[in-house]
Symmetry: C2
Subunit: 283 residues, 2 copies
């Protein structure tokens, strides 16, 4: 767990920022927030999600905190650091919740004051709803929390960042390089979202809704997607995402050819591989 008395500032009170705030305050820490919306701030204060908050970014307020968690769109996060890092107290630890890592971690490191340290993190949790009104730290229970240290990080800061995840109740806390993280997320998350989006774009399927079985529902659940956030995340991981998309398209094309040619051994071989690989997930 984080040291008692640690004061944590959440920058950006959306679903994830709000859920961090709620969970950390519940765990006994002093939690502040910076958000652009007075309404969001009022809501979070009224519901006891935060102890204090501000819609202005001021040195007086920001410098009170030991840990600063950025829960912003990536480009907003980077320009916040550029503009306001001077307000952060010397020795503070910075971390984030961004879904891509290479594109933020190295840029932040490049411009950060030498007396501050940033450790990237990715809480792999979410819901198909948005905003502080849906904040709920129980979404972290059992979920994956990935820390993406670089050679610029100290072991102590990385551990503190891991403690933050543990305090929030994550089930599995791992370390990956930013590169490994982005490859993994390109395949497991971004590619699957692309598949669901492409599938829903293939056919006006409302008239099919009554015939929709579990398989189609499961496959397309993630087709409900925040287009502003995800288009930004896709482009910030473009090389990895394209290479994962090409890999999938190649295998899909192989299966298509096997169907077209009536190549039963090839079709069955691919089905056996998929059955065997998938069964290991449910162990």
């Amino acid at each position: 767990m984080l040291a008692q008395g640690t004061r944590i500032l959440i920058v950006g009170l959306g679903l994830i920022g709000g859920s961090y705030a709620e969970g950390l305050r519940k765990a006994g820490y002093e939690v502040g927030a910076v958000t652009r919306s007075q309404k969001t701030l009022d809501y979070a204060l009224a519901k006891g999600i935060i102890d204090s908050g501000s819609i202005e970014v001021t040195e007086d307020y920001v410098s009170r905190f030991d840990i600063v968690v950025f829960a912003l769109y990536p480009h907003v996060f980077l320009s916040w650091i550029e503009r306001y890092q001077g307000f952060i107290r010397p020795g503070a630890l910075l971390t984030d919740v961004t879904g891509v890592k290479r594109a933020v971690v190295y840029k932040v490191e490049e411009m950060l004051r030498p007396d501050l340290e940033f450790v990237g993190a990715h809480p792999m949790a979410g819901r198909e709803v948005y905003g502080v009104e849906n904040a709920d730290s129980s979404i972290f229970k059992g979920a994956n929390y990935i820390v993406t240290p670089t050679p610029a990080n100290t072991e102590q800061a990385v551990r503190t960042c891991e403690e933050l995840g543990r305090t929030l109740g994550f089930g599995c806390i791992s370390r990956l390089t930013p590169e490994m993280h982005d490859e993994m997320i390109g395949f497991l998350s971004q590619l699957t979202h692309c598949i669901a989006v492409a599938l829903m774009n293939s056919k006006e399927s409302e008239h099919l809704a009554k015939f929709t079985g579990d398989s189609f529902r499961d496959l397309t659940r993630i087709a409900r997607i925040n287009e502003g956030m995800w288009s930004e995340l896709f482009l910030l991981n473009r090389d990895e995402l394209l290479s994962q998309m090409d890999l999938f398209a190649e295998k899909f094309g192989e299966l298509r050819e096997a169907v077209a040619e009536g190549d039963i051994p090839k079709m069955q071989e691919m089905m056996r591989i998929s059955t065997e690989r998938r069964s290991r997930f449910d162990k």
Copy 2:
């Protein structure tokens, strides 16, 4: 509900045949079975899934029944009709559970005795397990049951076939032409299985299992697939499946190009369409 006293023969005691038997017997009907395996027969008799059964196909046994349900692989079903239809009592109703329709319905009609009637049906239910040992008619609760009549059918026989579905507890009973059925199933079921199989073939992903979130798990649940059955069903619906696969591949390619070119408006437009279409499923 089916008329009281109706005697029903199930040909093929796998998961679906066994679940039909179990549900119909529980509903108070006399249920017999023909299966090739003595072990399957003994199990079904011991568990009270059927009233009687035979591993031989004899006129004496088969002619006792008013309705005959075929729960066989498509090619086995067609050759059974060719070989044994002479044993079925005049006026009996034949139906099936096959997942593709054009390829069986018209072939059966072509060769069937004029004093018998066949009405195709597709119970859209299943599990990732097989065999009579997993028979469980509760899998039909709330599921779709599709009847695929043709101009050769009488209204009375179609209604009886629908009553069979109602008796088994299906939630939504519909009529579709064999052509509409095959298009729908090509898109909603066969294409989604192809996607899941191709995705699991894309990468040896065991080392990723610890990072696997719900989206990847949901998308690949159906990658566990009976390769004998599904390769046969794919080829019996080859034209429709290929056209659905091509439609999806085209949209997936469009999204890939949008990512490659950083075309944010195009990416966001596809995401908005998918979000909007998908949200209608959950109403």
